[in-house]
């Protein structure tokens, strides 16, 4: 009966809660347990203390204690009571957001100060874990320093995280254009990455290895404390400096070798007969004096053009180090730094000085990544931590506007920078030069965390943070000239390029969290977070004198003036403990306000009123205009729930579910995309013989007809996540975790809608694009983690996912959007004066088509005459008749008109209408980058200084040696395929790829405090050459052929033009290193 009542009680609590979940105490952990005498009787009043601190608790009548707000890491606990022997428990491992349970048994003793020391064993199954979470401790990280070069690489070894370096979590959209990064990187409770940079800003996620105390990947239901991350959370807790000075410094030498497959690029088939090493005329061709203002190009005159670079003979190196220790009193510091000068794997503007991220490689000889913190405890109950992260480098820019790619047709400018661009024709451009100048990128984050424990059961934390992503370009040109060629008219020899970017994104955050162990069964945490930003971006990407482009994020079109969106988030979460069962429940509120005046419909950009950049800037955003609107606040609630229950003493079962919202990349809220439509020059409107900077500049740049622009009507993408799993300690320290997961993804973004102005107009090609919430998908999978903790000189960690991640843009209304109106509406709007322009003092109607020149250089709207109204009204009525009669029906075979509805805002009341059409159904596609199966296996063997094995020589050689072998494996990319016999297309996989790395390290003790280690880190030891993109995917499936067909005459003459690029991993590469640890 008692048991039945307890079960009913548990279920009742669950039913009553109606809350949903998350882990609590994300940055700190908790220790609880009991103190008993040897017979198992509770010992009330016993003191349990964390040695070296004043943190502790006194046991209650049941002998129970709980210590909250414990910094992650290994601690020593002691339990004491008068008349009993003190028990000291060493090596108690505390993990953020988890509870470490420690039970003491005290023996009666008459001796004062008697003490028994016990070493705790880390529980291999965390019974209070309610969702998938994989944690790597500082100790584990330090064991793999030779083989894992960055924290990002460490992530790729965790279950659920893709092994290709993109760090997608369970099929997430990480780094997809519309979302930015949908995995949030949180350092000491502060978000590092922000999706406000059109792909190239706010993507800073790198924390140097020496700074990391604990790294966790939450692939399942993440805490309610964190939002705007539908993919997952990477949580990093940084170290505090201890009471001794210590650290390590590592130098790696990157051996010279060819770092790509295929032939040396100077002999590669891509150049066919155009490289003529045996032709002296070609070899002796020299730069002529180019008609240019570029000093580097001028200085090239008379120099040999076709010079071969020894790019495969370049060595590289990088150095990383950290130091930590006490300062004065109760303060300490940690400082880490990393600098890379790796070799460029291909000929480029610079041959060395490459900085290598997980998924990109960038020449930046001045690159530097820093992190540091100061920790200070003014009193025993207070802690102040001031931290900072920095990453910066300057590089010769290739002129590509951003990582999204140019908004129109090409992504790079040929003849702009030495390298493999323009199919290798840029190979002989000058070194140390770019037509597009040098781009400087700086990412920084500063934060303050103040923690105040106001009672043994309650503490609060507040965080202030500021981050900034700043980009600027130096050495820019004003125009883009035509590309010059060598005499064979094949290789590019240089040009000037007006392609530059300047952007500044500053973000400020305030977060207040209150945590309390309300009673034995409830640990409550609640908090609020305010985030505000100031963001602007100006990018010029001119391809030629007549082909100019402008990308902007700017407040009301004023370049360099930032938009200031803000977010306010609230959450409450409760970790409930019911005799073994744990319930994590939480609820989060996300409020976002774009805080800007913008077009609700992209189609308005196509009207004659706002077609050009200057017209939109001068007339769209004025008070009184109905064509723009102040953004509305958006509020969403996301519940989370997680439950775990022990099955046996060594196994637990868990279930969790939660809702996540992901705001779009802010480009798609604020961005504007203009181009010149073939017009080389701006128009001198006031005929004063010059282009006036403030009124006429960019006045021929018009909204790009296929460009992607911002809208505040976007709703956040939504994901609902479910998972069930079990953690099981099989035997000894072998554990397995198996999880089944399902993610339902709705309201996702599609980029297709063509928004066309179908009202009064003078031209027909008038559409722009904005995102739409029409896409959806789902992800299902199984996730396996099989690991052995380090003991008996070895450990291993196996991660494996079997997953289906699919996606479709299919929804009605996401292909075409027409804004249209009747002749009557044209008349009404044309006769309504919206406002008097504050500078020009001219009346501006709600609708106009034509313009007059003004002495200032601005164009001013021409108020329509009766004749104009008749003319443009009749024009609009033709489309009105057509579109309003297009009741739902079939278009495009599988598409359908949706009918029409009023547009957003006041214009809707004035009968301005929106007609939409789209596909009823699109095929479900695999997500970009999806792999059905992926995983990794890492094996570590490490032998202590007293290790003995076999013959003494063998044993001695193995002492202080560690070997780490890591294999990553994924099945092939997915492509659409039509069977040989015809019929419906389906999806098939390309070939799998794998890579095995090994590192071997030998450590020598130099003295009692200093150790030296030498190591070798070899990538792709088996030189596995996996072609991930065959010449023709269907041929691969039909005939098993990866190269071009043998009947391909070019292939037979020259070989495979893709012999360099189509592979998963680089050839075998080796680094040698030395590390000093003290």
């Amino acid at each position: 009966m008692n048991r039945a009542l307890k079960v009913v009680g548990k279920l009742s609590c669950l039913a009553l809660l109606l809350l949903f979940a998350s882990n609590v105490m994300a940055q700190t952990g908790k220790i609880n347990g009991s103190v008993q005498d040897v017979s198992g009787g509770p010992l009330p009043g016993a003191n349990v203390v964390i040695r070296g601190t004043t943190q502790g608790a006194t046991t209650d009548a049941d002998g129970y204690f709980a210590i909250i707000n414990v910094t992650p890491g290994s601690v020593t606990l002691s339990a004491s009571l008068v008349g009993y022997e003190t028990v000291v428990m060493q090596n108690v491992v505390v993990i953020g957001a988890q509870t470490a349970t420690v039970n003491f048994r005290l023996k009666e003793s008459s001796l004062e100060l008697s003490e028994m020391v016990v070493t705790a064993e880390r529980p291999l199954v965390e019974m209070d874990k309610t969702t998938s979470k994989y944690t790597v401790t500082a100790e584990e990280t330090e064991r793999m320093l030779s083989s894992v070069r960055s924290t990002a690489e460490l992530l790729t070894l965790q279950p659920g995280v893709s092994v290709d370096g993109s760090n997608r979590v369970r099929g997430s959209f990480t780094n997809a254009q519309s979302y930015g990064n949908d995995v949030a990187y949180i350092v000491d409770g502060v978000r590092m990455n922000h999706n406000d940079g059109r792909g190239d800003g706010g993507t800073f996620t790198n924390v140097n290895r020496g700074a990391v105390q604990e790294l966790s990947v939450l692939t399942g239901v993440t805490p309610a404390e964190y939002g705007n991350a539908q993919g997952g959370i990477v949580q990093i807790v940084t170290k505090d400096g201890g009471n001794q000075y210590n650290g390590w410094t590592e130098y790696r030498l990157d051996r010279a070798s060819q770092r790509h497959w295929g032939k040396n690029v100077y002999d590669a088939p891509i150049h066919r007969e155009n490289i003529k090493w045996s032709d002296n005329t070609w070899l002796n061709e020299r730069w002529s004096a180019l008609n240019t203002t570029d000093e580097v190009l001028k200085a090239q005159a008379g120099e040999l053009i076709h010079k071969r670079s020894d790019y495969t003979d370049q060595m590289g190196w990088d150095v990383e180090g950290n130091i930590s220790g006490p300062i004065v009193g109760n303060s300490s510091f940690v400082l880490t730094a990393k600098h890379s000068r790796l070799a460029n794997p291909l000929p480029g503007a610079l041959q060395t000085g490459v900085y290598e991220g997980n998924t990109f490689r960038q020449t930046g000889p001045d690159n530097l990544t820093l992190s540091g913190s100061l920790s200070f405890k003014p009193t025993e109950n207070m802690k102040l931590k001031v931290g900072g992260l920095y990453q910066g480098y300057e590089y010769f820019s290739d002129g590509v506007p951003d990582v999204f790619g140019k908004s129109r047709f090409s992504t790079s400018l040929l003849g702009a920078i030495r390298g493999m661009g323009d199919s290798g024709k840029d190979l002989f451009l000058p070194e140390n030069w770019s037509a597009a100048g040098k781009q400087k990128t700086r990412e920084e984050l500063q934060y303050v965390v103040f923690t105040h424990t106001i009672s043994p059961k309650t503490f609060y934390e507040f965080r202030l943070s500021r981050s900034r992503s700043k980009t600027d370009t130096s050495g820019v040109h004003q125009v883009t000239t035509l590309n010059a060629k060598d005499k064979s008219n094949w290789f590019n020899i240089g040009r000037e390029a007006a392609r530059w970017k300047t952007a500044d994104r500053q973000r400020y955050g305030f977060k207040l969290d209150l945590s309390s162990q309300v009673n034995k069964g409830h640990f409550l945490k609640t908090g609020l977070e305010l985030q505000s930003s100031n963001i602007w971006m100006t990018t010029i990407y001119n391809d030629s004198p007549a082909d100019r482009g402008l990308l902007t994020i700017a407040n009301k079109g004023t370049l360099g003036e930032g938009v200031k969106p803000y977010a306010l988030n609230l959450y409450v979460q409760d970790k409930m403990e019911f005799e073994g069962m744990i319930v994590n429940a939480g609820l989060r509120m996300d409020l976002f306000n774009a805080n800007a005046r913008v077009y609700p419909h992209g189609a308005y950009r196509g009207s004659n009123m706002f077609r050009s950049y200057t017209q939109a800037r001068d007339y769209a955003y004025q008070d009184g205009s109905l064509w723009t609107m102040n953004a509305k606040k958006q509020v969403y609630f996301s519940p989370r729930l997680g439950i775990s229950h022990p099955i046996t003493e060594r196994a637990q079962f868990r279930f969790s579910s939660g809702v996540y919202y992901q705001w779009p990349e802010l480009w798609y809220v604020f961005g504007e995309d203009y181009y010149s439509a073939g017009l080389a020059n701006d128009i001198d409107v006031n005929k004063n013989g010059k282009i006036d900077e403030t009124t006429e500049k960019y006045n021929t740049l018009v909204s790009t007809y296929s460009g992607q622009n911002g809208t505040t009507l976007l709703r956040p993408a939504k994901t609902t996540n479910f998972e069930v799993g079990t953690d099981w300690n099989l035997v000894s320290d072998y554990t397995v975790a198996l999880t089944a997961y399902y993610k339902s993804e709705v309201e996702q973004y599609t980029q297709y809608p063509n928004e066309t102005w179908a009202g009064a107009r003078t031209t027909s090609l008038l559409y722009a694009r904005t995102l739409d919430n029409g896409a959806y998908g789902d992800t299902r999978g199984l996730e396996l983690s099989f690991k052995k903790a380090f003991s008996k000189n070895f450990s291993f960690n196996v991660s494996y996912n079997y997953q289906w991640a699919s996606f479709t843009t299919g929804k009605r209304g996401n292909i075409i959007r027409n804004v249209f109106m009747s002749a009557e509406t044209v008349k009404k709007l044309a006769q309504e004066i919206a406002y008097t322009h504050p500078e020009l003092n001219v009346p501006v109607p709600q609708l106009w088509v034509e313009w007059n020149a003004h002495a200032s250089g601005k164009e001013i709207p021409k108020v329509m005459t009766a004749a104009d109204i008749d003319k443009y009204g009749a024009d609009a009525q033709i489309r009105y008749n057509s579109l309003s009669s297009s009741t739902p029906g079939v278009i495009f075979g599988t598409g359908e008109w949706d009918g029409s509805r009023p547009v957003e805002g006041e214009l809707g009341n004035k009968n301005v209408l929106l007609q939409t059409a789209g596909y009823q159904l699109n095929f479900i596609n695999p997500k970009p980058g999806d792999r059905r199966q992926f995983g990794s296996a890492s094996f570590l063997a490490s032998f202590p200084s007293d290790f003995k094995f076999g013959h003494p020589i063998v044993g001695s050689a193995m002492r202080n040696m560690s070997i780490n072998m890591i294999t990553r494996l994924e099945t092939g990319g997915i492509f659409q395929y039509t069977p040989p016999q015809g019929g419906y297309p389906s999806y098939r996989e390309l070939g799998m790829d794998s890579r095995t790395d090994i590192s071997v390290e030998k450590t020598f003790a130099l003295n009692a405090r200093v150790q030296a280690a030498v190591f070798m880190d070899m990538r792709n030891i088996f030189n596995q050459e996996d072609r991930t993109s065959p010449n023709n995917a269907a041929d691969y499936t039909y005939y098993g052929v990866e190269n071009p067909r043998v009947i391909d005459t070019n292939y037979n003459l020259y070989g495979d033009a893709n012999d360099r690029t189509a592979y998963a991993a680089t050839p075998r590469l080796t680094q040698f290193g030395v590390r000093l640890t003290w």
Binding site: T971, G991, S994, Y1039
Partner: protein, 224 residues
């Protein structure tokens, strides 16, 4: 009891062995190749009376793969042909670390004595290197009639050094105190893939590669 003491006295002993296996490719690998013979050698280390560790190298080659004889459809004249000189082979060169687990106290007390035997569970893993080559397959994408049998595709090669696991049971029968006959049956699971060739008998990819071995070997325990 005396026997158990004898076995415990063998701890730390090394041995060298050789074996011959009959190997059966399973599942989709079996659709491509017939059975073959695997040769190998082992270096053994008696870790305890319950566990012997073994480093194994083995080699096997599957000749006369079935794909070589499979017809393909030539759309130009709507007829099916086979490639006259086609050859399909698969070679394994592998290195594995195995644990021979001698279960049961009584079982553990046997061995290392002439005419004595003990059984074991074998669990292992390592890196298997495979090299699958299909060559001289007539190019079916020709466009002229009649088909040119001398126009063959480039060899289709799948080669990889990859993780593999094996599990099985065996019996170690001692001929002398130090020479043992080893009979073993094992299932091998190789994380590899052979490419699809749908034009040749609708042959889809083979992944993973699965094989079953049945074999016999001799082990000489010689040094301690």
């Amino acid at each position: 009891m005396l026997a158990a003491c004898d076995v415990q006295a063998q701890e730390g002993k090394w041995g060298l062995g050789g074996f011959v296996n009959y190997t059966l490719p399973l599942k989709k690998l079996g659709d491509r190749y017939d059975n073959t013979v695997k040769y190998g050698t082992t270096l053994n280390y008696v870790s305890s009376d319950a566990v012997t560790l073994e480093i194994e190298y083995h080699y096997s080659k599957f000749d006369d793969g079935k794909l070589a004889a499979k017809p393909f459809f030539y759309a130009v004249d709507n007829k099916s042909y086979t490639s006259p000189n086609a050859k399909s082979t698969l070679t394994f060169n592998s290195l594995a670390v195995n644990a021979l687990l001698f279960l049961g106290e009584d079982n553990q007390s046997h061995g290392f004595k002439a005419k004595d035997y003990r059984y074991y569970l074998a669990v292992g893993g390592g890196f298997y290197r495979y090299n699958a080559v299909n060559e001289n397959f007539v190019a079916p994408y020709q466009t002229t009639k009649p088909i040119d049998f001398t126009l063959v595709m480039e060899p289709q090669i799948d080669k990889r050094t990859t993780l593999a696991g094996n599990v099985g049971v065996g019996l170690e029968a001692f001929v002398t105190d130090n020479l043992a006959l080893d009979v073993r049956g094992r299932y091998n699971f190789v994380l590899g893939e052979l490419r699809p060739m749908l034009f040749y008998g609708n042959t889809d990819r083979a992944r993973p590669l699965q094989l079953f071995d049945l074999g016999v070997g001799l082990k000489l325990y010689f040094w301690r």
